[in-house]
Subunit: 150 residues, 4 copies
């Protein structure tokens, strides 16, 4: 686990997660190597991120708003264990950093044996959909995000 | 081939195709059974359909129009041969029927040995995006479609 | 509903479904037209089909078997209503026909208002993975399938 | 561009790319926000990576080999510009680092105006498929990879 550069101490890092989204690996998400295709990890991260936004009351704010949106500025996945068809995963999300118009999320995917299969990090930027420019986060949003920053 | 209900005589049917879109099978489009996942046939059909609309001058009309759109009312694929990673396919499209506000397309996918790997049929409906109702095809559009009806 | 050729009387047809798989529409399964991309209906059908096979005790038989497999010979979807991000769907499956080495499944997708959003039909063929040829269904498998034929 | 941590000087970094794979953005790869869904960037990276392996003569070695495989240990994408339906992209790949049993690839995606839309980095590990353990790279493979290390 020492090689994942955004994880200092794995036990401390792991203990900071609270919110998760359950996801079962679909047949069509495997590839001819017999395991989960790497690109689908990002489908899982998105699903968990969207559910997290809804959970903290920002779903309407970011998913259905004509004026404001959120955009993935970067995202990374580290594949620690092979993931196979029909595994029942829990995709955890927490807030790592809160900036002016952006914030960082961390992801942890546990398998049924509570082993870490995947980890990830991601910067999200709040955007003004009309101008296409970043939009500073309100104090209200910052304080909501701060509750999940651990 | 006799079992595909929309094909009477395969040679006549095949001879009617002219337009095609080249598609190479991606690694991530396979599944753990080692071949193309069945759902991705419809990704190929869509890609060919979209290119066909652009080819006959209806791309702007249907793909970027705020008021008018086209919607897939139904679509079917028949899997005649296994399709594998890295195959170079040609996805052919032709018009089979032109109705009042809808039309039917047929699809034929050939492999590098000119064998038919997949066939398909599909009804497309022209929609008014504001009302969500079907919109009759203009005579101009009908005559453009008729050129590819064989 | 009269236009879907495999449905005679919709109430009778609908009453025959029992098994279903719950599926929530993911953000990434939409497209720039703002609704579910048509190809993803087949991802949902596959998910429900696989869960159905597991439910009737044929998961091991067909999904993890080196010698025997099942293959989609054809599949069709009829799109009756627009499907949007975050809808909670129920994807029902039933057996329509049992043949020598193949069988037909029907699909019905209900939205949260119990309206039919999508319907589908599909022929599955049991295959010998070594020879690549169809393999007659055993009497045991036929009788399991017959319990869901309505 | 200063915020992408694996790029020191963008002009130097950019000049090191030679191999690329052309990719057109498909309709179904967009999402309801109207642009390329972020997960599909990794589909493009995989397509380019696979073509790169074939280009340098390692396709047979890694894609069809029962005993040896390559696995994505981690992968990251930075989204610098919005990517839209029908854009014709060039997905460049180069080797950044060659280790004992692994190597790092960098990706650069240019749009039709030669602007950088996406960048990425990725660690690939050579695996023994039977033991599931990493397998040291041969001198021959290292020297082939070194030709694209810039």
């Amino acid at each position: 686990m020492s090689k994942v550069e955004y994880i200092d101490d794995v036990n401390t890092w792991r203990a900071g997660f609270e919110f998760f989204c359950p996801i079962k690996v679909r047949f069509g998400e495997t590839d001819m190597f017999g395991h989960l295709n790497n690109a689908n990890a990002f489908v899982y991260f998105e699903e968990a991120r969207v559910e997290f936004f809804k959970h903290i009351g920002l779903g309407e704010e970011w998913l259905y708003n004509e004026k404001v949106s959120n955009v993935v500025a970067n995202i990374q996945c580290d594949y620690l264990r092979q993931v196979y068809f029909d595994e029942k995963l829990r995709v955890y999300v927490k807030v790592h950093r809160i900036g002016g118009a952006s914030f960082d999320l961390h992801y942890m995917v546990l398998n049924e044996d509570n082993e870490i299969s995947l980890t990830g990090k991601n910067t999200v930027v709040q955007m003004d959909r009309e101008t296409g420019r970043s939009l500073p986060l309100s104090d209200e949003i910052k304080s909501v995000l701060a509750e999940y920053q651990k």
